[in-house]
Subunit: 254 residues, 2 copies
């Protein structure tokens, strides 16, 4: 609503006081937004810096804009959250990645879980990853993120456990926790976050985790958490996690 459109530009297209905008972004500016010379937009540098720029030239499908004002934005979650999502059916992973980006996730890992019905071959995976990289870019622009989340190649459990060595906090959403009376509340974990912690959140596919997976995750220090007392669908669980982390660290600060 009356807000400037945002574009993520590669480092090499920033020149002193100007930015050069090419390809799809230039097309979007001239054809979709119908911007003209003297219109303003926001450009994001890969180093998470952003600036208000004013268009000075439009020629041969290239837009040139002058940097007018560097912005001091602080819109990234204070912790670095990665969602490892058990491959779900249909286009649910699109939804998780789009909404997860709006809610502040820093990266996504498509996780080939025991009960994932969908199987990816190499060709399918490449197409999917391309698609997800477009979704995170668009969702980052729309939600005014200053960083575009990373899409990892898909991982099986062994690869995920290896990757998990890079994280300070590891949790998994375990619906058995929601059903019992003896459970670990998600807030107990969030309260122990430190600034800039890397947090890995593993979510099962439609059928949940297999017992083998639960055992392996626990052995590797993944903490099972409850996400409220209701049973959430696989694609709803990561949104609950991200909204709660945002609420706790950005709104509540307790």
């Amino acid at each position: 609503m009356f807000q400037l459109q945002r574009y993520f530009l590669p480092a090499e297209d920033w020149k002193d006081q100007y930015v050069i905008i090419r390809g799809d972004d230039a097309h979007h500016i001239t054809r979709v937004m119908r911007n003209r010379i003297d219109d303003q937009l926001i450009c994001n540098h890969p180093d998470s810096e952003s600036a208000i720029c004013r268009i000075t030239e439009i020629e041969n499908g290239i837009v040139i804009a002058k940097i007018e004002k560097w912005l001091d934005e602080d819109v990234e979650l204070p912790v670095d959250v990665t969602i490892a999502q058990g491959l779900p059916k249909g286009d649910k992973l699109d939804l998780v990645i789009q909404k997860g980006t709006e809610l502040g996730a820093r990266s996504f890992i498509p996780f080939k879980a025991d009960r994932s019905v969908v199987k990816w071959d190499k060709k399918k995976e490449e197409k999917k990853l391309d698609r997800y990289r477009k979704i995170v870019k668009e969702a980052s622009e729309q939600s005014h993120r200053t960083e575009i989340p990373l899409i990892h190649p898909s991982m099986n459990l062994v690869e995920l456990i290896k990757e998990s060595a890079n994280y300070q906090v590891k949790i998994f959403a375990y619906e058995e926790e929601a059903k019992g009376t003896d459970y670990l509340s998600f807030s107990k974990v969030v309260k122990q976050f430190h600034e800039s912690d890397r947090v890995l959140v593993c979510i099962g596919p439609e059928g949940g985790f297999s017992l083998d997976e639960v055992e392996t995750l626990k052995e590797n220090d993944f903490i099972p958490v409850r996400l409220g007392p209701r049973i959430l669908r696989t694609e709803t669980a990561p949104l609950y996690v991200l909204a709660s982390i945002s609420y706790h660290l950005e709104e509540l600060r307790c």
Copy 2:
């Protein structure tokens, strides 16, 4: 995952020690779940009571089951949250209603906002409301709710303001709050909730609220809140609200 399927049955189909299951539910039991005599399921009474029942008879498309054990479930949000969602484009309202039900909303109001592009005529509305009532029933069963959320007929701003007299807390998600440095944190409002409060949450459509709407909402004691520092899409905002309320009241309890 190895959990009993749940069915919401009308009060008149509960007879002493037995329940009678008809129509779509009976079809689901016999054809989709392929249940047989002696299989178990969970039946919910409209008074929010639920029981494990065992099938004793299947005949002429009717299933009869014996009540074996009344359950003591507590899965409803401690406050009564209504989402008034500005009519969004496409099938986004399906998503809000399905996910909102999983996340504990008690009712939904389709809100005809100034900037809603979609218009509903009477015939379209009836079809839509039927569809939403099916979605809330299925999502309630899937997420183990003990109450099915209510779908209100659509309302314009005047009707919404009139309806709002029935609520103790009224808020609206205002993206201008996310952009400024002087904003009301959502947690300030949640901290003031009392048990069983009725909370009305108004969300704008894709284009946000019009300035007229913002003024009218404020005049009628709707509090503008920020939902984290990122800009959320219209269909993501209610999920943030519900997840945060669940997190605060059910997981954090602070």
